[in-house]
Subunit: 223 residues, 2 copies
DNA sequence: TCGTGTTCGTTATAAGTTCTAACGCGACGG
DNA sequence: CCGTCGCGTTAGAACTTATAACGAACACGA
């Protein structure tokens, strides 16, 4: 029985093949999209024929799930690394955008059109919580004079997704808003919906980010 | 030669079949997603076998393009109808959300993960402009005391996508922000990313909408 | 009323896909 | 050194999109 650290030659080989399969899969996704991912084509590319890959992945779904997991992991690590090296909320936003622009398909694998039957395993939702936790950490360091909101009071009763993070519910609201707004600007940019409109998507992103990090007061005159 | 109004029996029949095919396609998309759309299955469902559908659609791509066009048309009409019946910006937002919730797959067909090779025909981008024009109309009726933004001045030089709409560039910015923020909240909700978090997505949407319609002043203390 | 020609639906076929099953070779490990 | 486990193969089933060729039904003009 091998210790957890060392692996048997077979395990090493298996790991290498799995890694190469995933690498080819990413290339294929980058050029043809996730829906056109073909196990057959990957096998041929690697010099082996068809069903050999089923020794390494139970099927197309498992491969894609693995890719999604890797994508989440990569995003969580990127965000965390930015935070650990001293980045503030804005720094996190720029890290997110850079990560997304580096490989749009990887972003859409996480935040794109959901597959009807598919349900993410628990460990993937756990990674998602990691990202949220980092965001809450960053927002905790950012002082705010924003007034509390009805939604924030609603979150008071529904904050279990934040784990045991001590951030006040207004911070929860801000983090959630960070997520939805930047995803909105980013996903439309990556999907090409701004193509032909002429303006610079980076400036739109920057404008949204500015709203997210600038302290504002609600106009008392408004209802 | 038939006048433009009346159609030959063959054209009527052709139109009926095309319509039924699209109807079945929508059902199939609603249950299995757009990627699982099968011409063969639709044909069988309609009592005819396989390649018969190629008399009506050049292929899978043309059918999907047609569905995308219909989806855009439906959204543009919905938004326009809301505006014409006196809805303000908030009314438009609620119409948008209701439309999206009524058939999430239809929403994702427009705003979901882009197909790598696919480029939308010009008439589809024209419908997109229609939606934007309606939004600009609604925002024009909404008075604003918001300060101008760097992005708004940038839009000053890139406003050709607004056609000849007389709205000031700050309004262009507000309309664009309406789009990206509501899309952000809506798409994450529809994709199920809020599942298990417990809070009510409608309240998050309402909070974003409130920010989009409430007059605010930037805190002078911020850089 | 009777051709004529367009259009439609069929079957057959090609080239793909995922995935299972059965078989043999080779290497790893006791 | 030898058994067993793992890997890769080919064969095949059940799908898919899409094209080709054939026959029948229908609309339309003479």
């Amino acid at each position: 029985m091998a210790e957890p650290g060392t692996k048997t030659p077979r395990e090493r080989y298996r790991g290498q093949v799995r890694a190469e399969v995933k690498e080819r899969a990413w290339e294929q996704i980058a050029t043809a999209g996730a829906s056109a991912l073909s196990l057959n084509a990957i096998a041929k590319q690697m010099g082996m024929s068809g069903p050999a890959l089923y020794r390494y992945f139970a099927g197309r779904d498992e491969l894609i799930t693995e890719l999604i997991r890797d994508a989440y992991r990569s995003l969580a690590d990127t965000v965390r690394a930015a935070y650990d090296s001293g980045a503030d909320v804005a720094g996190l936003a720029h890290a997110l955008r850079a990560w997304a622009l580096a490989d749009p398909h990887r972003y859409f694998l996480i935040y794109g059109t959901p597959v009807p039957g598919y349900h993410a395993p628990d460990d993937i939702t756990a990674i998602s919580s990691e990202i949220m936790a980092t965001l809450l950490d960053a927002y905790t360091a950012l002082p705010s004079d924003r007034p509390t909101t009805p939604f924030a009071t609603h979150l008071e009763d529904h904050r279990h997704w934040a784990g045991d993070h001590p951030a006040p519910s207004t911070t929860l609201h801000r983090a959630l808003t960070f997520w939805t707004r930047l995803h909105g600007a980013l996903s439309l940019e990556l999907a090409g919906h701004f193509k032909g409109m002429g303006f610079d998507p980076a400036l739109l992103f920057a404008a949204e980010l500015n709203d997210l990090t600038t302290n504002m007061k609600a106009d008392p005159g408004a209802a």
